[in-house]
């Protein structure tokens, strides 16, 4: 294929190759030349070899051929009678060579930058003033001297400062393919490697195979990308209205470092005294409770055996205001732990209970777990035989325990203010103009030990609360501060690695992160139960859809606890939100054991909560529950989705490295280290792990 005269003029610096047989005596014109655009392909396919002395198009045009040459012959000087020497671009003097290189014309990927392509620095002030160019990032913008002769790795419009990232010759910062974003995603050896050269917004994404196919469904995470759009939006929003403070919640911490029994309940000098005969009163308070013991567990007792852990609760009481605002007092250093069996010694909970050596079965430091060093007021409740797996049994165990906690609350309420050791304030803000986001938390509602008491009078209490099963598991709107102030008293004990305890909500990391993220407007938290029966699951998710429709949201995050049956409503909840045009991110434990059983088209942005080494439920309390690192990923992914970014499909099987790569990318982008929560490998191996889950591993 020959080229036109205009093309020849444009391409005078390209190599000159004859397109067809050319007779001796021919004066070379454009029509004798092969299109330089295809020459690299010809070279690659060994049709052509370009010698070092190959002439340029600008040199051969008008020159007379001495010999006859065949098709696809590179022209070299000895074939011609007269060759005009082309002016080398380098001969043109480059002025202002230390000034920034800004493109004067639109250029395509693969084109070399010449002096003529660069904007005269005389215009910089006015162009910057007009916001048409930004030279503030002077470290990354090349100088005119550096830019000339370099090759662009992507298309760039005129009036763009030339940065290293768009230059082929700087491979470290070059994107692999064209495109206008500065991100680079390369698949290598089954691991999605993502590289961000620079950026402000980050996005995470964790993809999910949503097609149901032979049960081979897995969840994995991938993608990290920088969202330019988010940045744009952020710029726009600079002028948005000011933040509105909706309400505040203050927590006052009172330190207790010893728990003893005494004649009456009281707090004296950092010691909590519990009334000696309180247990009998607690037993008497509930018909189904036949016995109740309190064990005071100090760190020295962490190696003791415990029946299944049904809940971990803070001891807190309102000093001022209703739950969710005002002032709350909380004991620092002591938690209440509910454990129990039935009269026949059967653990409350069918399978997946967490009885065993405490320190081997608790993932310390998770939001819903105890901290190492804390004292547990552990109740060991015995309920009537056979009631441990029905609704009233576990409820009675919780209520009897709360009878004791309530007495401590009353003591705490009267405690002298001077004993307060620290304070923490939580502020619920609305951020008009920012993206409106809701957090939708799916909570267990199948009945029996899958229930939650909602909105008690006192934080994590039972008095005044209604069980969400009794409420029909319908969506309930609460404020983020209500969540943090203990509006959920959790009755969940099966599959403890992925169930959220009362303390989890009290320290809910996603709510905290979202509240504090000034790029989003957290409007509300919606609690929705997960009913037992499928038809009820769709009943509640439809109601959720209507509730969300009325909220004009820009984005939502749906979380769930546990795995398996609840994934049916999890998927349905996401669908109901997603089909109303609201970008939605799903957050669940999935990994290996919790592979999703259903899926739909809106489930394309998923965050996996797994922390276990094997991707399994290993009955370590709170191990696979939502932590701060997950919250960061979920919010980043939502921002990405809101910005309309594409979310990469996951690998077929679960691969923990994907998440780690994502975390790395976010760290690079934020310039901050994200603390990864440790997993069960930091614990001594429990009997169950040894005998059931990790038979191959030796006790560490």
């Amino acid at each position: 294929m020959s080229i036109s005269a205009e093309e020849a003029q444009k391409m005078k610096n390209e190599v000159a190759v004859g397109c067809c047989r050319t007779e001796a005596g021919t004066v070379i014109s454009a029509k004798n030349l092969e299109d330089p655009a295809i020459i690299p392909d010809l070279v690659d396919s060994n049709l052509l070899e370009i010698p070092d002395n190959c002439l340029k198009i600008g040199e051969v045009i008008g020159a007379k051929l001495k010999e006859t040459v065949d098709s696809l012959t590179p022209f070299t000087p000895e074939m011609f009678e007269d060759i005009k020497k082309m002016e080398e671009d380098e001969d043109i003097k480059l002025s202002n060579e230390d000034q920034a290189a800004v493109l004067k014309i639109n250029k395509k990927a693969g084109e070399k930058i010449t002096i003529d392509d660069l904007e005269d620095p005389m215009h910089f002030d006015k162009l910057e003033d007009s916001l048409l160019i930004d030279l503030n990032d002077s470290d990354n913008v090349l100088s005119r001297r550096e830019a000339v002769g370099k090759t662009l790795s992507q298309d760039l419009p005129a009036l763009t400062p030339i940065k290293k990232a768009v230059i082929k010759e700087y491979p470290d910062s070059t994107t692999e393919e064209g495109g206008k974003s500065n991100q680079n995603n390369v698949q290598r050896g089954g691991v999605l490697k993502i590289k961000i050269d620079e950026g402000k917004g980050i996005d995470i994404e964790l993809p999910l195979n949503t097609t149901v196919q032979g049960g081979a469904q897995t969840i994995a995470e991938s993608n990290q990308s920088k969202s330019l759009k988010i940045k744009d939006t952020a710029d726009k929003e600079k002028k948005a209205e000011e933040e509105i403070i909706v309400r505040k919640l203050k927590r006052k911490y009172f330190e207790i470092n010893e728990v003893k029994f005494a004649r009456e309940s009281k707090i004296e000098d950092k010691t909590l005294y519990i009334r000696k005969d309180i247990c009998q009163d607690a037993v008497d308070s509930e018909d189904l409770v036949v016995d109740l013991k309190i064990d005071i567990i100090t760190p020295d007792d962490y190696d003791k055996f415990s029946n299944t852990i049904m809940d971990v609760q803070p001891i807190a009481v309102k000093e001022e205001g209703e739950l969710g605002e005002g002032i709350t007092r909380v004991i620092d250093g002591v938690i209440v732990m509910v454990t129990g069996t039935d009269e026949e010694g059967v653990q409350i909970g069918e399978f997946g209970s967490s009885e065993g050596i405490l320190e081997r079965n608790i993932m310390w430091g998770r939001p819903g777990a105890p901290e190492k060093g804390e004292i547990f007021i552990k109740t060991d409740v015995k309920v009537k035989a056979g009631t441990g797996m029905e609704r009233p049994g576990p409820m009675a165990a919780h209520k009897a325990t709360d009878f004791i906690t309530q007495e401590i609350r009353e003591v705490l309420k009267e405690l002298d203010e001077s004993l307060k050791v620290r304070e923490e304030e939580f502020v619920q803000k609305r951020r008009p103009g920012k993206k409106k986001v809701a957090i939708i938390k799916e909570i267990m509602g199948q009945g029996a030990m899958h229930d939650n008491y909602l909105l008690p009078v006192e934080p994590v209490g039972t008095l005044g609360a209604k069980a969400n099963v009794d409420l029909g598991n319908v969506p309930i709107v609460v404020s983020p501060l209500q969540v943090i102030d203990g509006c959920i008293h959790a009755l969940t004990c099966i599959g403890p690695a992925s169930k959220e305890t009362s303390r989890h909500y009290w320290r809910e990391p996603l709510v905290m992160e979202a509240m504090n993220d000034d790029e989003i407007d957290l409007t509300t938290v919606i609690l929705i139960g997960s009913p037992q029966v499928n038809s009820e699951k769709f009943y509640v998710s439809k109601l959720l859809g209507m509730a969300v429709e009325s909220m004009d949201l820009d984005g939502a995050i749906v979380t769930t606890e546990g795995f398996g049956n609840n994934h049916v409503d999890f998927a349905s909840n996401i669908e109901q939100v997603g089909k109303r045009g609201v970008p939605v991110v799903g957050v669940t434990y999935a990994a290996v054991q919790g592979q999703l059983v259903v899926g739909n088209e809106y489930m394309d942005a998923m965050v996996d909560l797994n922390k276990s080494r094997q991707g399994i439920e290993n009955e370590i309390l709170e191990n696979n529950c939502l932590t701060k690192e997950d919250a960061i990923r979920a919010i980043a992914m939502l921002k990405s989705k809101v910005a309309g970014e594409e979310i990469k499909a996951p690998e077929r099987s679960w691969n923990p490295n994907v998440k780690l790569n994502n975390i790395e990318v976010i760290e690079d982008t934020l310039g901050e280290k994200i603390e990864l929560a440790p997993n069960e490998t930091s614990l001594k191996m429990s009997k169950k792990r040894k005998e059931i889950y990790e038979k191959d591993e030796k006790d560490n």
Binding site: I105, D116, E119, K126, L131, L132, A158, K238
Partner: protein
């Protein structure tokens, strides 16, 4: 070579052709007569009438054009008659028939020679003045005689020192011709802006300089008057500035006395040819010129510039347009927006724009009425950037608000000035 001579190079109606196809015509020969409001049109080259269409007469000419060889106009002592015969029209771009404009009595009035050449880049008027100041001065005197005006002003930008000096020297003995030096600001050459500078009074957009007992004529028009009166030469040549992406060392070439009907492409080739890719060809100045096809454009009596620009910067987002009477109209701005690839989401007119006989006029050219309201409206319409067509002062106002609102600003002259490394129209210096 073919010379296409348009039958309408002026305000008014098409001139009536008086030759037939295949007629031999001589340079200077009348080929079309004014029909109502209009002007005579003459052959600019000697040759054969190849074709006559509704809008043009095409003359095929093989001869080299001898500038001083032309068919002279009939002798007359009536200067106004000579002007009419010569087909003189406003050479600054408007094309109003000069014999109509000068058919007035200015007792105790003024002739104002507009030598401001306020469109940046264009330089053919100043070149002419530098080369031949006395023809201009004599031309002014003829106009004073025709109209009975007592005094004359030569309005010129102070920055054109050489031309100013030449005019001052040549008028030093003239009591009633004064040189009025003006600031370098666009649109200082607008008729009413000059009158404001000289008389301190704004005319309404629909008022003519006659309201202040004056006529305003462009430098080249006045030169053409001298030529008509003294050499009996009709308007067959035009001065033009060719500038932009040209090969060779010069990016701006002034050609004086080029035969009308010459293809613009030929002029550009003679000036070095287009260097590489180009954005568009503008006929006229950066502010008020229009983009035309390179293949079709020919030189007319009113064309002062042929500008070859850089390709447009790409911007594919939502764009707001701010139309101004002193710069580009809406059609022109839409044209530029389309060439950039932008999506026009809003169009606003500067508050000062008033419509007068189908064309846009500015109430107070060069004095800004405030722009923030318009910019806010464009922003509200969804514009993420704006393309403005304002004069120096109004552009300054835009620059004081749009960037603060986070709205980047393009000016419709940017691609011209960036081609020629001429300062962009943005903020004014505070001491200017």
């Amino acid at each position: 070579m073919d010379f296409k001579i348009p039958l309408k190079q002026h305000i008014g109606s098409l001139s009536k052709v008086i030759v037939n196809e295949n007629f031999a015509v001589k340079r200077g020969q009348l080929i079309a007569e004014a029909d109502g409001l209009g002007a005579n049109i003459h052959a600019s080259v000697s040759g054969k009438v190849k074709k006559i269409t509704e809008t043009e007469v095409i003359i095929e000419s093989s001869q080299e054009v001898e500038k001083d060889d032309f068919l002279k106009l009939n002798k007359s002592d009536d200067y106004l008659e000579m002007i009419k015969e010569a087909g003189i029209v406003g050479a600054g771009g408007a094309g109003f028939p000069t014999h109509v404009k000068l058919n007035c009595e200015l007792n105790n009035g003024f002739v104002i020679a507009n030598c401001v050449e306020c469109e940046p880049i264009l330089n053919h008027n100043i070149s002419l003045i530098e080369k031949d100041p006395t023809s201009i001065i004599r031309g002014i005197k003829y106009v004073m005689e025709i109209t009975g005006a007592e005094e004359a002003y030569i309005a010129i930008k102070a920055k054109n020192k050489k031309a100013v000096k030449a005019l001052e020297e040549k008028t030093s003995s003239e009591n009633n011709i004064k040189v009025k030096k003006l600031r370098d600001i666009y649109p200082m050459g607008e008729e009413r802006a000059i009158i404001k500078e000289i008389f301190g009074k704004w005319l309404e957009p629909d008022q003519l300089p006659l309201e202040v007992n004056s006529v305003v004529l462009n430098a080249e028009t006045i030169f053409n008057i001298s030529e008509a009166v003294e050499k009996r030469k009709p308007v067959i040549d035009k001065d033009i500035t060719i500038a932009g992406k040209l090969n060779g060392e010069k990016t701006r070439v002034v050609k004086l006395r080029v035969p009308i009907g010459t293809p613009i492409k030929l002029l550009i080739e003679k000036a070095g040819g287009i260097k590489g890719d180009y954005g568009e060809l503008i006929i006229g100045g950066p502010y008020t010129g229009k983009a035309v096809s390179l293949e079709e454009a020919v030189l007319t009596k009113v064309d002062g510039g042929a500008l070859i620009t850089l390709p447009f910067p790409e911007y594919t987002g939502p764009l707001g347009l701010l139309v101004c009477a002193c710069g580009a109209d809406e059609a022109r701005l839409r044209d530029i927006a389309e060439k950039m690839g932008a999506e026009v989401v809003g169009v606003e007119q500067c508050k000062n724009v008033v419509e007068n006989n189908g064309s846009l006029k500015c109430k107070t050219p060069g004095e800004c009425p405030g722009q923030v309201e318009k910019i806010m409206k464009l922003k509200k319409a969804g514009a993420e950037r704006v393309l403005i067509a304002n004069c120096s002062d109004c552009s300054n106002t835009v620059m004081c608000c749009a960037p603060k609102l986070g709205i980047p600003v393009y000016h419709h002259t940017d691609h011209v000035f960036r081609t020629l490394n001429y300062p962009l129209t943005r903020r004014l210096k505070l001491d200017a």
